[in-house]
């Protein structure tokens, strides 16, 4: 079953065509005890196939422990969206529905390396010199 409908692919095309720099979708999965891992992998595969700027790298959460540690991944399915550097952008759980548009938004922003935030917000964030870990908890839509 395809996750992205043909009509949606046409809508996605302008977004994906606008990507400036390559983006890696670093995906952690495993074949057992992970209900949504297989579907997440299929969704990400379809997404990566829509743009030559997006590369999908898949790791086994159990076996590829060095990579899991490198990306700070502690649960699966996990997706890191990585551009010129690893900005610390992660998705845990299947990014379907509204979350899929959040993935596309993150891919665009990571590709450009520009947060797109207001000047006032950028100024305030300069004060952040210690680690901040933000977790946004959502449910499927």
């Amino acid at each position: 079953m395809a996750f992205i409908r043909e009509s949606d692919k046409r809508k996605l095309k302008p977004i994906l065509d606008s990507l400036t720099n390559p983006v890696r979708m670093v995906f952690f999965t495993q074949e057992f005890e992970c209900e949504s891992c297989r579907d997440t992998g299929a969704l990400l595969g379809e997404t990566a196939a829509l743009s030559d700027k997006i590369a999908l790298e898949t790791y086994n959460f159990q076996l590829d422990k060095d990579q899991a540690r490198q990306y700070g991944v502690d649960k699966i399915p996990a997706l890191a969206i990585v551009g010129a550097r690893d900005y610390g952008v992660r998705f845990y759980g299947i990014p379907a529905g509204y979350e899929f548009s959040s993935v596309l938004d993150a891919v665009q922003a990571v590709s450009s390396g520009d947060s797109g935030l207001s000047a006032a917000t950028r100024e305030k964030l300069k004060a952040v010199t210690q680690p901040i870990h933000i977790q946004v908890l959502v449910t499927p839509t």
Binding site: R85, Y87, P95, A120, H133, I134
Partner: protein, 71 residues
């Protein structure tokens, strides 16, 4: 969600996770999630609902304030 990820892109000290909590019920229990979106910053600041950018940044930055001592 998008704002948190954009904060991470803006500042290398910030990292941001989107977590689909129905797949990770232990986190829903840990943070006693009653509604979504709920944002947890450094395990110390809890933000309920979606906020506009100027308010969201102020709430996130509260995580940097020194912890008040009650003793």
């Amino acid at each position: 969600m998008r704002l948190a990820h954009r904060f991470a892109i803006e500042n290398e000290n910030i990292r941001s996770d989107a977590v689909e909590i129905t797949e990770f019920p232990f986190l829903a229990n840990k943070y006693r999630v009653m509604g979504v979106p709920m944002t947890v910053v450094n395990e110390s600041i809890f933000i309920e609902g979606a906020l506009p950018e100027p308010r969201f940044v102020d709430e996130v930055l509260r995580a940097l304030e020194p912890v008040e001592r009650t003793s």
